[in-house]
């Protein structure tokens, strides 16, 4: 290879341009249109569960495919489980949307991802008659609006819980009563929050109480003024942040090392840390908490539908629901799980609210997708694209 001549560079650049022009018509030809009813609404779900296909591909939250209940499942059904972890609802949506729809069978999405998957045509209706344990679910989780459209079930409810305030008991002798510790200069450089746009809702939830004049009623339905106030709060929080965590394990490591003293967390982190004898505890401050309600949704092009149904049956049973609840630190949908939780871990049922009345759940603001259309019929709310852009501005 001697010296290159500029003309040859131009030649290869030219090749790229020619090829890109060639690709345009192909790309345009595949353009599709979206509509207001879910694309798969009229698809008929299967009537029975046949023999397993030998494999099952899941997109799951961390801790949702643990050997404790995966191994017996594989043993009983012959379905070998492959799990891919998604760290956020958005990640799950894009894993399903971008060609993953032909790969994965089930996704354990939260309420804020469900509608995006349903209206994106990535998931299809489920025959709930094939999931007998669903009859034991809490009434509000049998056909919740985030996974059921006009009587068509797109998801089998699984577990739900609050996003908690995790704190070091070395620093805080008693539980903080307000989320304000995450915005306080006193904890500069000692705070961690999730690297996730939905965190704007947590700021809005705090502002709803701290600045009543803003008139925030729903942290996911924010007018431009309310939204800007939440973003400004998070921007002022940036200098206090040690790390925006992407992986649950990062928050665990930050607390283990004593690098942070307070943070927004899942109960999963609390359980892991306490299991390793790190001095931490969690609490739901007086402003309340955001939270999640997860469902298993069936991919439209699921390659292993029978194994998928077998999995949905399996994880709906009281035992698996109890194991998952204790492992992650959340509340099972199946009411029969309470007794098993107590046998697995004395006091486990009450600790994770599995016996709490329906009113408890009203205190959790479950994740949902921010849309331009507010609940009050007006169309002046800030939509999810803006949330994402604002989040890049906040963390960038």
């Amino acid at each position: 290879m001697k010296q290159f001549r500029t003309t040859h560079w131009l030649a290869s650049a030219g090749a790229v341009i020619v090829l890109s022009l060639g690709a345009v018509p192909v790309a345009l030809a595949t353009a599709g249109a979206s509509s207001s009813t879910p694309p798969m609404q009229n698809m008929k779900p299967q009537a029975s569960v046949g023999a397993g296909e030998g494999a099952l591909n899941l997109i799951a939250w961390e801790g949702y495919a643990q050997p404790t209940w995966v191994k017996p499942f594989t043993k009983a059904t012959g379905c070998k489980v492959n799990a891919k972890y998604g760290g956020s609802s958005s990640e799950m949506v894009s894993l399903m949307a971008n060609g993953g729809g032909h790969q994965y069978d089930l996704v354990s999405a939260s309420g804020d991802a469900d509608l995006r998957l349903i209206y994106g045509g990535n998931v299809k209706p489920i025959n709930m008659n094939l999931i007998p344990a669903a009859k034991q679910f809490r009434p509000f989780l049998r056909a919740p609006s985030f996974n059921t459209i006009n009587g068509k079930h797109y998801g089998v409810s699984y577990e739900f819980g609050p996003n908690v305030l995790l704190y070091s008991t070395k620093t805080f002798s008693s539980a903080p009563t307000s989320w304000s510790v995450l915005y306080s200069k006193a904890n500069k450089g000692k705070i961690t929050v999730p690297n996730n746009p939905i965190q704007i809702a947590d700021a809005a939830l705090y502002l709803a109480k701290a600045k009543p004049s803003l008139g925030i009623t729903d942290p996911y339905e924010l007018t431009t003024t309310q939204f800007n106030a939440a973003v400004a709060l998070l921007k002022s929080q940036h200098p206090l942040i040690k790390k925006y965590w992407d992986l649950a394990s990062q928050e665990i490591s930050l607390f283990t090392n004593g690098s942070v003293v307070a943070g927004a967390a899942w109960p999963y982190q609390t359980n892991t840390l306490q299991g390793a004898k790190v001095k931490v505890a969690d609490t739901i401050p007086s402003e309340g908490a955001t939270g999640w309600a997860d469902s298993w949704l069936l991919a439209t092009n699921a390659p292993h539908p029978n194994c998928a149904y077998k999995w949905m049956q399996w994880v709906s049973t009281p035992k698996v629901q109890a194991q998952e609840a204790l492992y992650f630190g959340e509340t099972p949908a199946n009411t029969q799980a309470c007794a098993i939780m107590d046998t697995l871990q004395p006091g486990g049922c009450a600790a994770y609210h599995a016996n709490a009345p329906e009113s408890y759940f009203a205190t959790i603001k479950f994740w949902k997708t921010p849309l331009a259309a507010c609940g009050n019929g007006q169309n002046n709310c800030v939509d999810f694209t803006k949330w994402q852009q604002a989040w890049t501005q906040i963390t960038g």
Partner: protein, 264 residues
């Protein structure tokens, strides 16, 4: 150029520090494989051999390892065939745009991995090709070709053409010449290129993130395990096992490389 003892000594100390810098993280990996706690702090309080047996019995580790080996072998095979061909073509024939072709080959290494990954991701998406072992192999082969090419073309430049001419003067057919003269002189370059290509593929994570389907390669499994944070020492155990496995081919590659040098 004569160096003072002082200069030699400082250079030696500096080189020692560099080697230390390169090796210490590897030692850390090995040590934490024996850490009983999955929340890792220093010094290690309790030692165990348990993680090795956990890793050995973990079906997820096994299938990820297998997938990585398969992807590495297929990608290396493609890279070998195409890399050797293009090395020959470029070495033997003069044609317009020869330099452009060499540049093109280098692009997958010279452009950031995430660009290659995203480009393949977009293209597979567009034509509706499902992500699988094959999409991983396509991605890996693309940047492995240049590795084989570089090794082979460097050797071709060093070997003289007279052997080939002698061979054909003595009546050998071109195919015989390739079989009896060309390939033997190239064999060590090809083996070295193949080993490097396999190593690159086996450890690749950026492009793979964008081209893998539901099945995990070993690096993707490691990334998932890091994110889960439950059994961190298992990762160390797996890596220690893999490095122990790869020491054999490295030693072999080093031997043929040094053998070459002696011959030259």
């Amino acid at each position: 150029m004569r160096l003072s003892t002082f200069t030699r000594l400082s250079l030696a100390i500096f080189a020692g520090l560099v080697i230390l810098f390169l090796i210490v993280p590897l030692i850390v990996i090995v040590f934490f494989a024996f850490d009983a706690s999955n929340v890792q702090t220093f010094p290690i309080h309790q030692w165990t051999l348990n993680w090795f047996s956990i890793a050995w019995r973990d079906p997820a580790v096994r299938s990820a390892f297998l997938l990585s080996v398969k992807a590495g072998l297929f990608a290396t095979l493609i890279a070998l065939v195409l890399g050797v061909m293009v090395a020959f073509g470029i070495h033997r024939f003069k044609f317009f745009g020869r330099e452009a072709v060499s540049l093109l080959l280098v692009l997958p290494l010279a452009l950031p991995g995430i660009v290659t990954g995203l480009a393949l991701h977009s293209a597979f998406n567009l034509i509706g090709l499902p992500f699988s072992l094959y999409t991983i192999v396509i991605g890996h082969a693309t940047f492995c070709i240049v590795v084989v090419f570089n090794n082979v073309v460097a050797r071709l430049r060093r070997t003289s053409n007279s052997l080939h001419e002698a061979s054909s003067d003595l009546g050998a057919t071109p195919l015989q010449t390739i079989r009896l003269i060309t390939l033997p002189t190239l064999s060590t370059a090809i083996i070295a290129g193949a080993l490097l290509a396999f190593a690159l593929s086996f450890d690749e994570v950026i492009v793979t993130t964008f081209t893998a389907g539901a099945q995990n390669t070993l690096p993707l499994w490691i990334f998932g395990a890091i994110r889960l944070g439950q059994q961190l020492p298992e990762i160390n155990a797996v890596v220690v096992g893999v490095v122990a496995l790869t020491i054999v081919p490295i030693a072999y590659a080093a031997r043929i490389a040094s053998g070459d040098r002696v011959k030259n």
